[in-house]
Amino acid sequence: MATDRASAKLIKGATGDWEVIVGLEVHAQVTSRSKLFSAAATAFGAEPNSHVSLVDAAMPGMLPVINRECVAQAVRTGLGLKAQINRRSTFDRKNYFYPDLPQGYQISQYKSPIVGEGEIQVDLTPDHPITVGIERLHLEQDAGKSLHDQSPTMSFVDLNRSGVALMEIVSKPDMRSAEEAKAYVGKLRTLLRYIGSSDGDMEKGNLRADVNVSVRRPGEALGTRCEIKNVNSIRFIGQAIEVEARRQVALIEDGGAVEQETRLFDPARGETRSLRSKEEAHDYRYFPDPDLLPLELDVAFIDALAADLPELPDAKRARFIADYGLSPYDASILVAERETANFFEDTVNHGGARRDAKAVANWLMGDIAAQANAQGVAVADAGLSSASLAALVDLIGEGVISGKIAKDLLVRLFADDRGADPRVLVETYGLRQVTDTGAIDSAVDAVIAANPDKAEQAKTKPGMLGWFVGQVMKSTGGKANPQAVSDTLKKRLGV
């Protein structure tokens, strides 16, 4: 860790500065049609217990059979994390009793995970990416869901999720602030979505994190950590780290000691609470699952997956900077969602032409992002096609409409004229900008004639020109070509 970065993130305590150390265990639901060890569907939102196979319900004599696609997804993710792919991995049983765990054990990879050490570049600011180490990635089964609010005397169980594949991605304790942890999860989520191995949908619980937090005096050995279980949004991850780090600092400064324990984050009260201490920790009695053979991958399988990987965010960002001349900042924002990046490229290259990339980027990050935000959808899903945006950019470039008119047109394209061809709309609404010099001349003359004093001032104060351009644009209903107006004004005013 660079010391300058560390010092910038220190927490001020009553007795001095503290460094916060964060490591994350992210649980990402694997995108697959069926579960990790059964053929039951993984679809979200179905009637309770409608996606439950005999294996998921742990009927006597049922056996798990590994889902090849889930394995492929884990390998793809490992490749995306530039990680060691383990040709041989094994599955273990983690034993504990709970009603939403029908087998009485979770099948996980404890000793030998499918993916070993890797790393991920996290763009905390576009100019200063940090590298977070990946400790391991392993496959495991999700549990079902206990429903405690359906009956006053009983709990109900929904096993739809039981057996769905999860990837647990364990980072090294390489993060030094809530901001870094949030950026890490954001980047990891982007990567998973690019690869297609998880939709990273935190609202559906498809991505959640166990957050390990400890504090120490800068330069000293690592402190005792607490694990905050099952935090389900990036914002909450940040909040949980901040309150937990402050709690630990206050505790130590008051002469106490942090005890290793599992805690819960309560967003409503903005605090973490003890769930169970180290002494109360379960003895999971891990042992190799005798129903499953070791998972052995051949090189050809891994190579084929590597060959089919899409362009990943870091590579795409570098290419956008190199090929389209985008700033690192713009490139980072555009590549955060694969669909947005594709939208950008489709627009720039629409119809085989090459458009002004910076202009397209500005539209996407500005007005279109705002529209998408207002709708609560991704940029690519906001209802505008790349063809429409390309047309809009072309209309400005051709001088047919001004930027101002284009913005108005965009509002229409998101409202009543959804799906319409911008070129047709320009004609329908008569938005074509006036380039006819005669019309501009008379509009300019009229404004000068109406403001003789200001015309006189303008001769000595060139700054007045802007005011005149505004007046002429206003009188032409914005349709005059601003450049032509400016040129004519300069001539008539003699500036």
């Binding site: 009927m59 006597p60 004599g61 009793f97 003895d283 009695r285 042992f287 499953l292």
Partner: protein, 506 residues
């Protein structure tokens, strides 16, 4: 007992094929025999209607073309196998009322080949036991009369607590008793540490535990997944070969099941054993073993030599560690496999104040003492701080045992010959009540085979001085069941067919 129930499976098959008898007739004859043998307590659920329906369907197929290899042959199924819509409880109270909506692969294969199901057979609870005394449904009596017992005394004992009657062994006690008593032509069984082979030896019949992975475990109630294997009990080696041929085979629903095709096991019967090399391991010569067993073993080696095989002394040095290691590995796996019986989704549920109370009450009442003991042993050996000392070390021993055999086979040995059990059958209530290890010692010659994943066949080889059957065990190379069938039949022919007891129970 009618002539029809005395037929071997192969004989019955041939008569059905030539249509000198019908499946309905032979099925009815067995149902009647079962009815008369209630005192043995071998069957815990009789599916008479289903059996007769299956028999009729078989007769229809026998009349046309397209009859399967087991068409119309009535057999019994160990309660360990999931049979759709039929009692499947592994003879445990905790699975009360459980009738699966699915069929095990092994039984599915048997029905595919035309076999007729007579019902479900008694067994030790979750296959944990060596005398069929841990069954929730009570002990099974062997059809063999205890030495010096009169038929009347024995018959009287069947209707009381059965104490003093002989056990058929376990855990496949119901299967062994039913086959020996001619209540079915053959039966499915399962073997985790000797549960096919020891009952075969005790009841004078043939049993084979095939190579681990030869039969699918899908739909078999799991005891110890890395050791459990399905196999048949039958009255002749040929019958066992025919049964295994149908039971075995690849199954994508079991990751540990071998994809290799099943050879024609019956074709191995009668194959010459000339030139084969038979290993006799010195470590199986236990201190204090009866001279009777020793003599039987030597006689077995003589028979094989007489048939053209050579017999050599071999060493399997890690044999003494097999039993203790087995009693770590098997309970460890069982403690996890049986966690699913929690009263939440099926079977017995004892209401509790909260979920923990429900678990505790259900499992305390649902599992018998032997199962509870093993679950506690298994939980203990997997616990933090004990795992390395027990489980890891037991797995190392397991590897060494496997290597012992590999070395012997690499030296050109085709099969290893050992006694099947240290003694002949003992009485119900006689063993293990004070010291469970006394019961565990029954498996001393058989557990090594499960630990090494090898095939093991037991064939009757003679009678004890008290007139009780004794068996010899043949251990083969992985997936070389054919050699065992060829050798087993040689022993069977040399020893002369065991005369099974007349039905005193009827």
């Amino acid at each position: 007992m009618s002539d029809l129930t005395s037929l071997t499976l192969a004989e019955a098959r041939d008569r059905l094929k030539s249509r000198t008898i019908s499946s309905a007739e032979i099925t009815r004859a067995h149902l009647e025999a079962i009815e008369r043998a209630k005192g043995l307590n071998a069957f815990i659920a009789v599916t008479a209607d289903k059996a007769l329906q299956m028999a009729e369907a078989s007769d229809a197929r026998l009349a046309k073309k397209g009859a399967g290899p087991l068409e119309g042959l009535p057999i019994g199924i160990k309660d360990l196998y999931a049979t759709e819509g039929v009692h499947t409880q592994a003879c445990s109270h905790i699975l009360d009322g459980f009738k699966p909506v699915y069929e095990s692969t092994v039984t599915g294969n048997l029905w595919r080949d035309g076999a007729v199901m007579l019902g479900k057979l008694n067994m030790d609870e979750f296959a944990m036991g060596s005398s069929n005394e841990t069954s929730y449904y009570g002990p099974v009596a062997s059809p063999w009369l205890p030495p010096n017992w009169s038929r009347d005394r024995a018959r009287a004992a069947t209707s009381s607590d059965k104490r003093g009657l002989l056990t058929p062994g376990g855990s496949s006690g119901g299967s062994a008793s039913a086959v020996a008593a001619r209540l079915c032509l053959a039966a499915t069984a399962s073997d985790t540490g000797g549960s096919i082979r020891q009952p075969a030896a005790f009841t004078g019949i043939v049993g084979i535990k095939p190579t681990y992975g030869r039969c699918s475990r899908y739909g078999m109630v799991a005891f110890a997944s890395s050791l459990d294997q399905a196999g048949p009990l039958a009255r002749t080696v040929r019958d066992a070969a025919i049964m295994l041929g149908s039971m075995a085979g690849p199954d994508p629903k079991d990751s540990t099941c071998s994809p290799s095709p099943v050879p024609d096991y019956e074709a191995a019967i009668g194959r010459s054993i000339k030139g084969m090399k038979i290993g006799v391991p010195k470590e199986y010569r236990l201190e204090g073993m009866s001279t009777e067993i020793d003599a039987l073993w030597s006689r077995g080696a003589e028979w094989l030599r007489a048939a053209g095989a050579s017999v050599v002394d071999v060493s399997l040095p890690h044999t003494p560690y097999a039993l203790p290691a087995y009693y770590i590995v098997a309970p460890a796996e069982a403690s996890s496999n049986l966690a699913r019986y929690d009263g939440v989704r099926y079977g017995l549920r004892e209401p509790g104040a909260d979920i923990l109370d429900l678990y505790e009450k259900t499992r305390a009442r649902g599992f018998g003492p032997e199962v509870r003991r093993r679950l506690m042993i298994g939980t203990y050996v997997l616990s933090a701080g004990y795992y390395d000392a027990y489980y890891v070390r037991a797995q190392k021993i397991r590897t060494l045992i496997k290597r012992d055999f590999e070395r012997v086979f690499a030296d050109g040995v085709d099969a290893v010959l050992t006694p099947a059990t240290p003694t002949a059958a003992f009485g119900i209530g006689e063993k293990g009540s004070d010291n469970p290890v006394e019961m565990y010692l029954n498996d001393i010659f058989t557990v090594t085979v499960n630990m090494a994943g090898l095939p093991g066949l037991v064939a009757p080889a003679g009678l004890s001085s008290e007139g009780l059957p004794l068996g010899l065990q043949l251990i083969g190379r992985p997936f070389d069941e054919e050699t065992l069938f060829a050798l087993g039949e040689t022993i069977e022919q040399s020893a002369g067919r065991v005369t099974l007891p007349d039905p005193w129970w009827a």
